[in-house]
Symmetry: D2
Subunit: 408 residues, 4 copies
């Protein structure tokens, strides 16, 4: 698939994700950390407008209003509307945003004809596509949070028939101490935060064969997991008390038992499905309760290097994690992001992208934790073994679960 | 006009006010105190559903989801979505809300045929119509606030040609001390907070012939009005500093001079137009600066009793206060609400409405100040001499201005 | 008693109130609204320094540090340390503050010799004494709040033997409609907010013979008073829920029954004692529950005009309200302040004191309610029939109770 | 020095640090993160009471009030007064706290006689001494913050004559890649967070010969360091704007130039002195501006392994960092803590202390950064090469500075 074909595929995937939603739905913003779907549609277009098209011969400068409305956090590009106020942008209308997308697509299509784009910009197109794929996942996690905020609990997609199978028992695989090569080897696109490839001493460890299941997490809850401070990091325990956490986000306990709100509406909790929508604090507390720990991101990368990169990604259409059906190591990719014990930090000799794109990753290397492996909302082509996702330890609205590790 | 005709007129006015707005616009909520236009459309229908229709022979109970979503503050009616979260209700859609309105209108129309409605419910229809007219004004003030929150400053209506004339000089009219009859005399519909009519001793006073103008308010600003604590109530001064107030809401100072954001977009400030979008604190500080004071609500009612009830109301289509063109007493009605020096309190021997409708007014009689006279967003038929509007002293998003009073 | 004698008496009373407290106790500040006892000692001295001594021949200007540290809220006098940070002033030490008091006393004593003080300043000495008496009450209510914040609940004074008697049944006295003279008649010292004396039409009313008792308030609690929104003002109900109120401040329910924290430590609640430490919201809700209402401040003043000005004041040494032992009208003065239904507003033609002392009362005439009659922490010589105390409706740390009124 | 002698020395050092402060000073709490000196005196005694004495034959249980008041954060030990309210504990008085200290000392002295203490408790005595030494540093940093909050800026100690010398130019030392042994080798007391010793691959790096000086930091300020978002982590830039940071904590710019508030009062800033009272965000931004970076904690430990453990510690009496006077590597120990680029995380196979003492370190391993090397407020005997201090990235009230590192 050449670059133009890939551009078209990525862009149309974004639109198909927005398609089930009305203009009203697409304006919803339920918390500062989440953005309206319409804003995602516009921002991803603005990204190509700003980082690829502007400055090319004959291309106009980005319109000031668009820079003001659709710049996310690039200080070097100029002022922007406060993140928490994106839900107030009824204008430009969804139709105008769609027209903006189309105009960008037309301009991009001309430049993506073979031989036209200056080579130095090709990487920025790749970056723009990877960027748009990140927003595809955010479209799903943000609208899930927003629809859930409505007391009548509307769904994003139609209910699906869900088969139920018992989860396979966890088995453990042992990995010996090694000096491992970590990070991007330059063979394809990667974000700057995956570079440079470097060596790290990884002590021997054992890794569980699958993600932790909802049923296992229920045991933690029933054993008083949310009431025992000894299981928690200090910041986590403070959050449990301040926010009144009793279970993962979207779980609810009624007379009939536990249910979970999904993008296809609320349904009974399947004990075999992976637990997700956990904060780092909850993942860490569960691991402590289980007599284990979270893996480091290096451990995960060592293990993933020996496994196939297959998994339940966005293309599966499941929109929710499903039970592991294979022997381990299973679910390293897809289903749910895996919290690691690693703080999000630069690799040795890290250098950010040049220019304003250098704000993409580096400036967030503080106060966040790394997640690995992608989820059922991640496009398959977006994922790779060196991919580093990151969120604050209190974040729960992503499809974040966990896998256990332990010392040999 | 009979009750059915009035019902239809009021309901269609509401819809015409919403008509220029897209579904996206109608979902906007820019602060907890303001509601989405769509919610106003639904809530006013729910009011008839709950207080008039429910319980009539053959009429169904209010659907639980609607009670949950569209109840504003009636504790006796049951739980409701938090006020600050009304902007998250993308579902039911605007089309569904409109269909709900139509279904209520059809059911109401049947009951409003002559002789059908039990007499005890006629008053509740009147209450529902007065209630809906209050929300008509809120539709305008709330959407004004919401559109203004968009950095590109979109307008509600098309720009209008605005004639400019100098404001007439203020003259003063003297009123002698008297024992005045205050409050509703029972000759037509009135809210419970206007009753019972009672006598009050009103010392002699003088009242200005018109509202304070923007030009006069500019003098206050230029004289350091927002920098001199001696002019302010203590709570007002604290608010000026905490919120960084430098001028009325919607005013902006650029190189070209002062401009004002209106429902028809931003335009140069006309010194002759009445100042509005003032808090009580600002109105009080201006009066002190001017060597005068705010009138009490009794003084206003005494003066209004000698004046005609005409003024620039919603029907004028101006959507913004305009300069007084007549000799005084002018502008007692319409243009801009007049802050009074009176705290919102019950009249002697006040009794709230029976039932849940008793929560309409009485429970808000704390911490608010009375405004009188209506504005250019108030329907003419909604206003009367005994009408008491009320808002917290810090509120600025209503069309609130002031008229000066002084002691003889 | 001449002015010098009165000065000495008032000043020594302040010191005797502070005497049981260590330097550590006197530094406590448990909330922004309450000040350290040491600060009260210094501020009241600074008041004489600034408003009486400065400017007299040969007297030095107030030292800048003292103006910075001990000015409460006089904007005209200059900047000052934020109110919430008064508890951080370990320096100057308590000993230095006491020395400052003594130096002021010596300078004042010279000027208070007969014939020395310019007549224009005599009123300011009176104001300073009244001011200091207000701070005497605040010393007690502020330290009570601060000591109660300590989990071990230390006491201000030694426990006292408390006799117990049943409360007399409430009887009602009727007052006919009248045009009443309200406010200060100029025969003695009064604050500016008590002036000018004016006439008001007071409709007929009935007033209860004593304060509401703790036992009566317990009935309200047991009848679900804190769980029934229909009994509450909207702001009050919001406060009940936000702050988790279940009873008056300082009440606690244990297995052994209800107890109350007093300045003499915690002790079993006496059903006959007046309920106090109520917010306006609670007083209002109780009155509604009881089928009655709060009196207006004019009604209180009419009733007090026919009663003797005796009561259980500071000099009684009780430091806590005690049961009414006389037939009504009883307890109009002393025991506990009585919340009235009147918002704190200027009397007609009110003029504040000249100069910076004009900030004493007038700028607080917004958002507060009037209380009448004084408490067991008020010096007897400080109280008079026209005295208007005022606090925000949510305030509970004052000795505030209520008396019922009703319409005939 | 045997254990009893060391116990006595550590305890008396604490008391000598408190000695210049009045009872009022010792009650000050200027923010939730800082505690009153009196509380430090009590808490460190409670630590021995709880972790060493309780449970020994014949020793009483800890008094419940003391557990309530003086437990810092040990969930396993029971409830405790909220951290932000420690400044409200005027009772028990300072004298009572001192008596409590003496009683603990007497009981400890008996048990520290040779051969009496059960061997298992010896480690807890060591832990208690290390704990008390940590609080010695906090006594100084907390009282510095509290006295600075007083607008008159009182000093802790007498002003000292400070010699001035130019700072030596920074030189760089190169360290080759290695597999380094990191962490405690078991030869003496260490906290659990320094264990287990393990190997880590440390790429080659270069390290600056001394701490960054105030003069160098002034260049950063003058070059717009606090106005250029490109230099900052995203969280750091948000903090700069929210808190209005323009310089390190305690720095002030007046007409006469820059001054710095020290424990000995405010004095002109010496360009040669190490900059301190920096947040991690500021240290990181400065390093980026300087074209360098912060060292990892492993890099610091590698470098410190080749240097002598001497430096300007608490015993120097300077109470403020002083200019480097030796060639590098200088100031690795003492003067000011050095922010590292390392998030505070467990070492591989970390196990917390057994029992409640396990809450000492492990539960804080989230959201904090490691500092190394100690400061002029750290007792010399408290410091060692493997010592890991940790604070949130926004913390500025510690004596925290930085040393630059760079890639070869």
């Amino acid at each position: 698939m050449n670059l133009l074909e890939r551009y078209r595929q990525v862009r149309s995937t974004t639109e198909s994700l927005a398609a089930p939603l009305s203009a009203e739905d697409q304006l919803l913003q339920s918390m500062p950390e989440a953005s309206p779907v319409k804003w995602h549609l516009a921002h991803t277009s603005w990204f190509f407008d700003t980082f690829v098209l502007e400055g090319l011969p004959g291309e106009p400068a980005v319109e000031p209003d668009r820079a003001l409305l659709y710049n996310s956090y690039y200080e070097a590009v100029g002022p922007r509307v406060a993140r928490a106020r994106r839900g107030l942008l009824s204008r430009p209308s969804l139709d105008e945003v769609r027209a903006y997308r189309r105009s960008i697509d037309e301009r991009m299509a001309r430049w993506l004809e073979p031989g036209r784009l200056p080579p130095a910009r090709t990487h920025l197109v790749e970056l723009g596509l990877a960027h748009e794929q990140q927003h595809q996942e955010l479209i799903l996690t943000d609208i899930k949070h927003a629809l859930h905020a409505n007391p009548i609990g509307p769904a994003y997609g139609a209910p699906a028939q869900v088969g139920r199978a018992a989860a396979r028992a966890i088995t453990w695989r042992r990995y010996d101490e090694r000096i491992a090569g970590i990070g991007d080897d330059g063979s394809g696109f990667a974000f700057d935060n995956e570079r440079p490839r470097h060596r790290a001493l990884v002590p021997g460890f054992e890794l569980a064969s699958r993600l932790v299941s909802a049923g296992e997490y229920l045991e933690f809850i029933r054993d008083g997991g949310y009431r025992r401070p000894a299981l928690w990091l200090s910041d986590g325990w403070a959050t449990v008390q301040a926010d009144g956490w009793l279970a993962p986000l979207y779980w609810s306990q009624e007379d009939a038992g536990w249910s979970v709100y999904t993008l296809r509406g609320r349904r009974p909790l399947d004990p075999a499905e992976p637990v997700c929508h956990l904060s780092y604090y909850e993942a860490d507390a569960f691991a402590r309760w289980a007599g284990a720990r979270l893996p480091s991101e290096f451990e995960w990368e060592v293990a993933a290097g020996e496994a196939s990169a297959e998994g339940a990604f966005l293309e599966s259409g499941a929109l929710h994690p499903t039970a592991a059906t294979a022997d381990g190591p299973a679910q390293l990719y897809g289903d749910a992001w895996e919290w690691t014990a690693s703080a999000y930090a630069p690799y040795p000799r890290f250098r950010p992208e040049a220019g304003a794109a250098g704000e993409y990753n580096g400036k967030f290397m503080s106060g966040q934790m790394v997640l690995r492996g992608g989820s059922c909302a991640t496009p398959r082509s977006h994922m790779r073994i060196t991919y580093r996702n990151f969120f604050p330890p209190s974040a729960r609205w992503q499809l974040s679960g966990l896998r256990l590790a332990r010392d040999p």
